[in-house]
């Protein structure tokens, strides 16, 4: 029989305050239905398809060589304040992080591009010759800064983790998939404890333009998952981590990840399967592992795009077509409040699922008129507190049809 996996502690760094906020600091604001989406002012967005984001204006984060690492460190500090992580150091501690490749600052990229293309086309000799003059810029594109694995590797070094270290770069499913990977390795005995989660740091000109030209961003500048007026997602940034252990924690709050599921649509590069076939299989796999047929709450992927939200709700309707309790499962998406963290999205979603088991169900900020294509027991307006929930499911679905579901239960 495989080993059990428990949630020992959580930490996050979110955009719910302009300078950034811990998970504990974010919760009252999230429960009140507030949103962190605001106009981007730290670079010029004139003409951009979308000019808003849920971004963090922390000067220290902005000055960091690697924004992903700076955000992740803030999230880790919240866990470190609660748990003596040094006691876990060694070969039985692993690190599993959802993260995409890093990017140098636009200024650094620009300096290198200008150095390399004096005549308008890339010139290797000029690139080498002039890179020294742009030394800071050159360093910013070195592997320590841009490797997708740089953040996980730095975390492992900081924690003294000598166990497995994985970096999942699976677009919007990265964070949840990293937790799936952690659960697998914990169950298999490759480690006894793991820091797992994800980070998104995509509020920069290239990403806003890239997603915008793809037609994925909200033209209205509003993130409103499941709403009839939804018109695309809003980019957000932040980091969320969990400490997972195979030993149950002391105290009254014992949360176990009892099921994980993952699947591939095998359907299209960008569009989800219209009926949410892959999403359904991921959810059913997580339910099957946990031995459950129902859950009390679903933290949906809920991006605020027309196709994704409809496909996810169609899958939810099939998976939970016979609710044991009326009004369940409750459904909400954190992306209305903090935007879409891409590689970090599933990780912050998982924290919401855990929070639901603490009695606090966060609402879908921005949702006022649920679309007919998005049926469900949506939590709108303010959140709900004081609930006694036993189980929660977290979904994360990616471009390319990669799906991950995490089922957590109160023990």
């Amino acid at each position: 029989m495989s080993r059990r996996v428990f949630v020992r502690a959580v930490g996050a760094w979110t955009p719910m305050r302009p300078q950034g906020a811990s998970w504990r600091e974010s919760l009252p604001l999230l429960l009140a239905g507030e949103t962190a989406v605001r106009e981007v002012t730290h670079f010029d967005t004139a003409g951009f398809p979308s000019r808003v984001a849920a971004w963090i204006g922390d000067d220290a984060v902005a000055a960091a060589c690697d924004r992903r690492a700076a955000l992740t460190t803030r999230a880790l500090e919240e866990i470190e304040a609660e748990v003596e992580l040094a006691a876990l150091a060694g070969p039985k501690l692993g690190v599993f992080l959802g993260a995409e490749s890093g990017r140098a600052s636009p200024a650094a990229i620009l300096r290198l591009a200008h150095a390399a293309a004096p005549a308008g086309t890339f010139d290797h000799a000029a690139f080498v010759a002039h890179a020294a003059a742009a030394a800071g810029a050159a360093a910013a594109v070195a592997a320590r800064s841009v490797s997708p694995a740089a953040v996980a590797s730095a975390l492992a070094a900081r924690l003294g983790a000598l166990g497995p270290v994985h970096t999942v770069s699976l677009a919007c499913a990265s964070g949840a998939s990293a937790i799936v990977s952690a659960v697998r390795q914990l169950r298999a005995g490759a480690c006894d404890a793991a820091i797992a989660g994800g980070v998104g740091a995509d509020v920069d000109p290239f990403m806003l333009v890239g997603f915008g030209k793809l037609g994925a961003l909200s033209g209205s500048g509003l993130s409103r998952p499941f709403d009839r007026a939804r018109d695309g997602f809003v980019v957000g940034e932040g980091a969320a981590l969990v400490l997972l252990t195979t030993e149950p924690p002391d105290g009254d709050e014992v949360f176990e990840i009892s099921g994980v599921g993952a699947s591939l649509d095998g359907f299209h590069l960008t569009a989800p399967h219209p009926q949410g076939d892959g999403a359904e299989r991921a959810m059913r796999a997580a339910l099957r592992e946990s031995g459950r047929s129902q859950v009390d709450y679903v933290q949906a992927h809920g991006t605020s795009t027309a196709l994704n939200d409809a496909a996810e709700c169609a899958a939810l309707a099939r998976v939970f077509e016979q609710p044991v309790q009326p009004g369940r499962p409750l459904v909400s998406s954190i992306k209305g409040a903090v935007g879409h963290w891409i590689a970090g999205a599933g990780a912050i979603g998982f924290l919401c699922a855990v929070e639901a088991l603490r009695g606090n169900v966060l609402p879908t900020a921005g949702l006022t008129h649920p679309d007919d294509t998005c049926p469900g027991q949506h939590v709108m307006g303010a959140g709900r507190t004081g609930l006694a929930l036993q189980s929660a499911l977290c979904n994360a679905f990616a471009f390319g049809g990669a799906n991950a579901s995490l089922l957590v239960e109160r023990r």
Partner: protein, 368 residues
């Protein structure tokens, strides 16, 4: 650390390297049965960089409808994955997982320069000064899982799927795939990794360890080839043919570790420390062949498994294949151990390392 995940069988493989795509010939090169190949050259444009040679995959990938999305290495990866799956005889569908390893996204300067050429130093009015010129597919061309997504569609891999990133991403993909196969989350795993270190921003920082190279490599893993022979082959006609059934070439286990500890000058540790290597290889001290580059800290010696313990270095014949190295090693040693029937209990411990502080460790054995 114990070895908790049981070995899984390799039942199909394919690769592209700077020395070709024949695993048998490459394995013979690796163990010295073929003469040392001619040294790699330093052709233009790479002669502009502070490297002594580069190792390029000869020739372009076969033409593909995915050329508008996938770059050269992504196309190679797509093709080797398709070949490996076909050779395995394993069925597609909901029980086939897909695990991809990539080194990381590259700048792709040729795409950026038109958008950056007229930008001002403060990046003001960046849209009108050029960002508007980025192709609508630019994001998809730079999606870390674009190859993964197109592969899953094309080969109908609908089980679970992951894309891992970093210089040891191939080992990460192998470790995750093996755990999924052993625990029964899927019946079979298609694992593919690809990387090219022949990129301007990477060569700018080359530290002189090995020849920068590139590779795409794929293999298919199952927990039990005998079971897979009856359960996995979808085509009844093919199932009737023993030749189409999966046959184990060798057995594999994989581990990963990382420690980007900072050095005294504030730079990130280039390679994993000896302590990290030792922890990752714990329990694997008995081997007949060690495949490692000289700059990687060797694991502590254990009792000899056989009278013959030999050290080899895949990077010496192929160059540094980055994230693909672990899978290249696995394929070559599976080929070699399957061929060398005179040593039925042979095993190879294969190490690879890359920036920043990333370690891949794969153990390939001729028996379970």
């Amino acid at each position: 650390m114990t070895a908790p995940v049981a070995p899984v069988a390799i039942v199909g493989a394919a690769l592209r390297t700077a020395r070709g795509d024949d695993p048998d010939a490459l394995a013979r090169m690796l163990v010295g049965e073929l003469p040392p190949p001619a040294p790699f050259a330093l052709p233009a444009p790479w002669s502009a960089y502070p490297v002594r040679a580069v190792a390029e995959i000869p020739g372009a990938p076969a033409r593909s409808p995915h050329e508008r999305i996938l770059r050269r290495m992504g196309l190679h990866a797509h093709q080797v994955a398709t070949e490996a799956l076909r050779r395995s005889g394993v069925a597609c569908g909901d029980r086939l997982g897909l695990y991809t390893g990539i080194g990381g996204l590259r700048a792709q300067w040729q795409d950026l320069i038109p958008a950056l050429r007229d930008q001002s130093a403060d990046f003001s009015a960046s849209w009108s000064r050029g960002l508007r010129l980025l192709h609508p597919y630019w994001m998809l061309q730079h999606l870390s899982n674009n190859t993964h997504a197109l592969l899953s569609k094309d080969v109908s891999a609908r089980g679970e799927g992951f894309t891992f990133g970093g210089a040891n991403a191939g080992a990460q993909a192998l470790q995750a795939a093996a755990a999924a196969v052993v625990t029964g989350a899927i019946d079979a795993a298609l694992v593919v990794a690809y990387d090219s270190l022949l990129e301007p921003e990477l060569l700018l920082h080359w530290r002189g360890q090995g020849i920068p190279s590139e590779a795409a490599a794929a293999l298919v893993l199952v927990a039990d080839p005998a079971a897979a022979a009856t359960a996995a082959v979808a085509d009844p006609a093919a199932a009737a043919s023993p030749a189409a059934r999966p046959a184990a070439q060798a057995w594999l286990q994989a581990r990963t570790a990382a420690d980007a500890a900072e050095t005294s000058d504030g730079d990130a540790q280039a390679l994993p420390t000896a302590e990290t290597v030792a922890a990752a290889c714990a329990g694997w001290e008995r081997w007949s062949h060690l495949d490692t580059a000289p700059w990687i800290a060797a694991p502590p010696p254990g009792p000899a498994r056989t009278p013959h313990r030999a050290t080899h270095d895949v990077t010496a014949i192929l160059g540094d294949c980055g994230a693909a190295t672990s899978i290249v090693q696995a394929i070559l040693w599976a080929t070699q151990l399957s061929r060398a029937a005179s040593t039925p209990d042979a095993s190879a411990l294969c190490l690879s390392a890359g920036l920043p502080g990333l370690l891949g460790a794969v153990r390939v054995s001729s028996s379970r």
